[in-house]
Symmetry: C2
Subunit: 235 residues, 2 copies
DNA sequence: TCGCATAGTATGGTCAGACCACACCTGAAA
DNA sequence: TTTCAGGTGTGGTCTGACCATACTATGCGA
């Protein structure tokens, strides 16, 4: 039985970058040193540096692009939902978690966010205005189903953002992302989809109205019914 | 402006494995084909295969080890909290999220889990018995602070598991993991730690008693006070 | 002097091939 | 039958190379 967890070479770089982030020697918008430079700095190969870079990439810490100049290479971004989405998605595929748990969690987070006293009333009002626009766009009969789902997701994430908790917001978005494929295949034909979308539009408007008139308890209740109803259609 | 997201070679393998997981051609305990075999199967280099393997590794889908035989190579496991923890931890370092949001989320998840009607009463009773053991172990005056934190974390995760939602359980564990370093440095000296640990022990016992006597509302309230109080000590 | 095409340069993405330490498997020797 | 030395396949790491890309600098022509 080996006690040594065999330290990986890429962790040298990973820990160094994490420390630089913590001490704000690196922050959003900054460029990371090139892979070849990092390899030389830490005395490891470029291949191992790339392992660390890849992890930061899928976790949504950086984005990478080729070429030279200020916008090339590895740039710090901040997209917390990217990594969480990927993790949930893979574990959903691996049967480590199931759809029931994801839906349950989504209801938990969204109803909590709805009932929270907004941390920033100005932002809350902006959310109400912007969601109104999204509702109008979802009324477009020409809208493709794919576009509808995208705007629908934006609608829910925006509402959740009112609570002013980016962890909850990211988890919400991740839960939504992780089952988007599942939703897409469960109602395959357009004929079954048309009546569903009509109900969704009505529900969205009711939810928005509750928010706009400050009925947060009612908004939470409508959200729960909305989510529960939608997933009952996908079985 | 490039419209092509430039498909990465490693995604070929990643998608293939995800599909095999979804269709249960691969499940927990199975061995993945060797890296050299995967490279040849998909017509890409071993380096690109390793990118995919590395992602599955940090996401907690597989564990890798050297050597040959049935327990070597890449084996499917299921550790959803690994990937989420890593993501939260990095984004906490990158200032994409902050401690307040994590604590708030933790309270949300734990109080929800406490108030849920347990899906499995037998498991719930086992949790109550096992947490009693953990409480006794935390009473040991000789216990190192590190060990205390580990058992403490186990205590909370176990209670959250009563709700029977592995997404919530994983997120709980991840939130706890992501700030463990932060906690460790915020109360550095043992003299400040001793009075804190006394209060924690008392709170744990009260929480356990509330669970054991079926007072779930009260347990949730005590949990919220417990978490809030503890983090108020770390400022 | 100004404008613009062109060569130069640095970037990440990919590949090929090599060597290592490790864990197991096999078969010969005791 | 037991023991142990070699064989074999695994992931981990390294080196060095080539590619497409995107910015930068050069220098030519007007």
């Amino acid at each position: 039985m080996s006690v040594n967890p065999a330290p990986r070479a890429y962790q040298i770089v990973l820990q160094a970058i994490e420390e630089d982030l913590r001490t704000e020697k690196l922050s959003v918008g900054d460029q990371l040193p090139g892979e070849r430079a990092l390899a030389e700095q830490h005395g490891i190969s470029r291949a191992s540096v790339r392992d660390a870079i890849r992890i930061l990439d899928v976790m949504g810490i950086i984005k990478t692009s080729t070429g030279s100049g200020p916008n090339s290479g590895a740039v710090i971004v901040s997209n917390p939902s990217a990594g969480i989405s990927q993790a949930l998605r893979l574990h959903l595929a691996a049967k480590g978690i199931n759809v029931r748990e994801i839906v349950e969690s989504r209801i938990l987070l969204e109803t909590w966010a709805a009932q929270m006293n907004p941390r920033d009333p100005i932002h809350a009002q902006q959310v109400i205005d912007r969601t109104a626009v999204l509702i109008m766009r979802m009324d477009d009969a020409q809208l493709s189903r794919e576009s509808f789902h995208r705007i629908d997701a934006e609608f829910h994430v925006l509402l959740a953002s009112m609570a002013g908790n980016s962890v909850v917001e990211s988890m919400m978005e991740s839960l939504r992302n992780s089952i988007s494929d599942y939703v897409a295949v469960s109602i395959p034909d357009d004929e079954a989809w048309q009546p569903v979308v009509k109900v969704l539009r009505r529900q969205h408007k009711a939810i928005h109205h509750a928010f706009a008139t400050g009925q947060r308890e009612r908004a939470a209740q409508l959200l729960e019914e909305h989510i529960t109803w939608f997933y009952s259609q996908t079985h």
